[in-house]
């Protein structure tokens, strides 16, 4: 006579006797090994290497030329650091879709909301200012597929 | 139930492997298209939709035609079709999946595909096409699977499946109507600007889909122990006959309006397709083959003797599939775009990479079809045993 087992989920028949044997162990462990190898693979090349944290520089010639108060970005540095991508998205929506081409920054100063023509005018060092951080955190913003960086052009002009 | 797809004859696995190979080739070519752009296809600024969208149009018809086995069974209680409804539904699943994939491979920016949902635009027919196709796919997967599972367990399907089945019946013509509206509402394209576009699509679909189903049923009978049934095939053949006759009739209605009215914007496209324009006549042989072949097949199908002989029936069904494919696929696409609205003729022909990607998508579709049919047939064989 089999005994029913009662627990919080209900009443069940006796648990069937299952032989304690792992079937297809070869394939199970083989599969797990392949899975582990695939997971670990991308980590291996950088193992044990410390990548120095980025130190974006803001001393471009354009910024050096600005006097005291003007050295401020459109918003606070800390805010910009956290939210620049959202700000750029907002600018993009407003300029393209509503035709609003004016942005009032901190302190009431008005700006032309433009990546190439406002941001990059001051921060003309794209590889240093943008790419360093983006590479460090492994994000690939797709701005540059269309918008143009002026770094080389600026560098050329300054060399003259 | 899905486990039945994992055990099969050597021939079954060989078929899966061959289709898998097609998919692999198509996928690699698609990667090439992703990196170099749609410039690898034969499309251009004048013929901006081509082979991919042609397949989409044709396959939406194949998918919609599942209703031709579902409707008689559920609305008219025509018991004979009970055996094959699942074949129709699973054919629809494979066809709609291919449709959706053909839209995706045609997009310039597939990475932004979800923008259609993110910025819903009810004014765009493409938005509605996305909705009806996805819903139809879901309906057919759920209905086909639930009914087959119930059949296997020898119980009635769950109650909630019935309303879904009734919903799927009007939904089928709706997917093809919406697809026709993609074309028939555009102001500058005389070939497409016709109120009869959706009816034409439906008639050719209800001819081509059941034809394909007859061919598949004959294959299933030949290679498995499950016989879809002679009566079923004969009933489908009658549907094909009526539908293809109506389709030919619609084509001549179109010809009358266009040529009796003598409006150049509408005539030019027919000139290009059937006699050539500005010395360019790439489509001419195909179009003549299509319309003449279709008419002959339609007339031959009227004779019951030709339908009763299954070899002749298979040949005629093959003819219907090919001729409607030429008319509604490449013919519709190039015919609509050539000449362009400035009355210039730029011809179109698919390139090899374009054809490989297309074959890859068909590979995926037939892979799905093979697996689903394998499941369905195994279940049917089990019941018989």
């Amino acid at each position: 006579m089999k005994k029913d087992v009662k627990n919080e989920f209900g009443v069940f028949g006796e648990r069937p006797q299952v032989p304690k044997k792992l079937y297809n162990a070869k394939y199970i462990f083989g599969g797990l090994l392949i899975f582990l190898a695939l997971v670990i693979l991308p980590i291996l090349p950088n193992l044990g290497k410390a990548v120095p944290p980025p130190k974006p520089q803001v001393d471009t010639p354009a910024i050096q030329k600005l006097a005291g108060q003007d050295k401020q970005c459109v918003e606070d540095t800390a805010w910009m650091r956290a939210n620049h991508m959202l700000l750029l998205n907002d600018w993009r929506e407003e300029v393209v879709r509503t035709g609003k081409r004016e942005y009032t920054g901190k302190g009431g100063k008005k700006y032309n909301p433009s990546l190439s023509n406002t941001c990059m005018e001051c921060h003309s060092n794209k590889s240093q200012f943008c790419d360093q951080c983006h590479n460090y955190v492994a994000v690939v913003p797709n701005c540059w597929g269309c918008h143009l960086e002026k770094e080389k052009k600026v560098a050329k002009a300054e060399a003259k | 139930m899905l486990e039945t797809a994992f055990t099969g004859s050597k021939r079954y696995y060989l078929l899966l492997a061959a289709l898998g190979g097609l998919v692999a080739i198509g996928f690699l070519t698609y990667l090439y298209q992703l990196s170099s752009g749609l410039g690898i296809t034969g499309m251009g600024r004048d013929v901006s939709w081509g082979f991919y969208i042609a397949q989409l149009t044709y396959l939406v018809g194949v998918a919609a035609s599942a209703v031709m086995v579902v409707l008689p069974y559920y609305l008219h209680d025509y018991k004979a079709f009970g055996r094959i409804t699942v074949l129709g539904e699973f054919l629809a699943v494979a066809a709609v999946t291919m449709c959706l994939l053909f839209v995706i491979v045609d997009l310039g920016r597939p990475d932004r595909m979800l923008n259609i949902i993110k910025y819903p635009s009810p004014n765009s027919v493409l938005f509605w096409d996305m909705i009806v196709l996805n819903t139809y796919l879901l309906l057919n997967i759920v209905i086909g699977w639930m009914v087959l599972e119930a059949e296997r367990n020898q119980v009635a399907p769950p109650k909630w499946v019935k309303p879904l089945i009734y919903l799927s019946i009007p939904w089928a013509p709706s997917i093809h109507t919406v697809t026709a509206f993609l074309y028939s509402g555009l102001p500058g394209r005389g070939y497409w600007l016709t109120a009869i576009m959706a009816p034409r699509f439906l008639s050719s679909a209800f001819a081509a889909g059941p034809s394909l189903l007859i061919l598949l049923a004959l294959l299933v009978r030949k290679y498995t122990k499950f016989d879809p049934g002679r009566e079923q095939i004969q009933s489908l053949a009658k549907i094909v006959t009526y539908a293809i006759l109506i389709n030919v009739f619609f084509f001549f209605c179109e010809l009358f309006t266009v040529f009796y009215s003598q409006i150049p914007e509408h005539m030019q496209h027919f000139y290009y397709l059937f006699v050539g324009l500005d010395g360019k006549a790439r489509m001419v042989p195909y179009m003549w083959f299509s319309i003449v072949g279709m008419t002959i097949a339609a007339l031959l199908l009227v004779n019951p003797e030709n339908r009763k002989n299954e070899t002749r029936l298979a040949l005629l069904c093959g003819m219907v599939v090919i001729t409607t494919y030429l008319d509604k696929g490449l013919g519709l696409m190039t015919g609509g775009f050539v000449p362009n609205p400035m009355e210039r003729v730029t011809e179109y022909w698919p390139t090899i990479p374009e054809a490989l990607i297309t074959l890859g998508v068909y590979g995926i579709g037939f892979l799905i079809l093979t697996i689903l049919y394998k499941v369905a047939v195994t279940v049917k064989e089990e019941i018989k045993a």
Binding site: - | L38, R109, L186, R189, G336
Partner: protein, 269 residues
């Protein structure tokens, strides 16, 4: 109440589906409202831009200059002229891949159906400048599944390159062939790049924007500046504007007006 894993997955899946559908339903009941609430009202300028092409003043040289000025300003690729000779394309591809914002066409291609067997001889030789007509009832906007192309308050039919999915439905809908698709990466074909204006990426559709970026700065579109008076541009809502004056004084025609798109580029022939 307990819930089995199976039920949980089923309910979660269904809720996701309805969640995705909700926005669409909202759009259906109140079209544009959702979008309207999330973006500020457009600056109410009350303008309606339009262009008149005076074919008495357009010659081949002026037409070419207009096109060159526009294409250079907007980084429009020229496939006949790659930056590096190794990117050379053959003539057949040139026809298919061509990107153009403003170009010239023959009379009978510009105005199909208006050409006659016996007509003024000069018509056959005139280079008709053609561009996006910035229709009041644009078919391209109607068919766009993402609102990547839309009509601004001031009448400009605009493209949002950030949103376009490259389905090319707009190209099928436009009865003027004003839209070009990027079949290839355009950058290797922009010889003198203008860093102040973006290029485009592979896989999006582009067209003339009536130089919105210049209008914003109270400048005339680049082609108008270059045309030496052959192109007249202005505000249709202002009765004193030059466009309105020209439209009052001269008989003008438009391309395919019978299609109901209400094009806003007028031609003095």
């Amino acid at each position: 109440m307990s819930i089995s894993r199976r039920d949980f997955i089923r309910i979660a899946g269904l809720s996701t589906l309805f969640g995705l559908g909700a926005r669409g339903a909202y759009e259906l009941i109140a079209p544009g409202q959702l979008e309207a609430k999330s973006v500020p009202e457009a600056a109410a300028t009350g303008k309606r831009w339009a262009m008149v092409v005076d074919m008495h003043k357009v010659d081949a040289d002026t037409a070419r200059k207009c096109a060159v000025a526009c294409h250079r300003l907007h980084n429009v690729p020229d496939f006949a002229n790659p930056v590096n000779p190794k990117y050379k394309v053959d003539p057949e591809e040139l026809v298919r891949w061509e990107v153009k914002w403003i170009w010239t066409d023959h009379f009978h291609n510009t105005f199909p159906g208006l050409d006659q067997q016996f007509q003024q001889e000069r018509l056959d030789k005139l280079p008709f400048l053609v561009l996006c007509n910035h229709c009041e009832n644009p078919a391209c906007v109607r068919v766009c599944p993402t609102q990547a192309t839309f009509r601004r308050e001031d009448g400009v039919v605009m493209m949002d390159m950030h949103r376009c999915i490259g389905c090319r439905y707009c190209m099928a809908a436009c009865p003027y062939g004003a839209r070009s698709f990027n079949w290839r990466d355009p950058r290797p074909y922009v010889k003198e790049i203008n860093p102040d204006y973006p290029t485009r990426e592979l896989g999006v559709v582009e067209k003339c924007t009536f130089c919105v970026e210049r209008l914003e700065k109270n400048l005339m579109p680049a082609c108008v500046v270059e045309s030496k008076g052959a192109l007249i541009f202005g505000d249709l809502n202002n009765p004193k504007s030059t466009v309105r004056q020209v439209l009052r004084q001269s008989y003008t025609i438009r391309r395919k007006p019978h299609l109901g798109t209400n094009p806003q580029v007028y031609y003095i022939v």
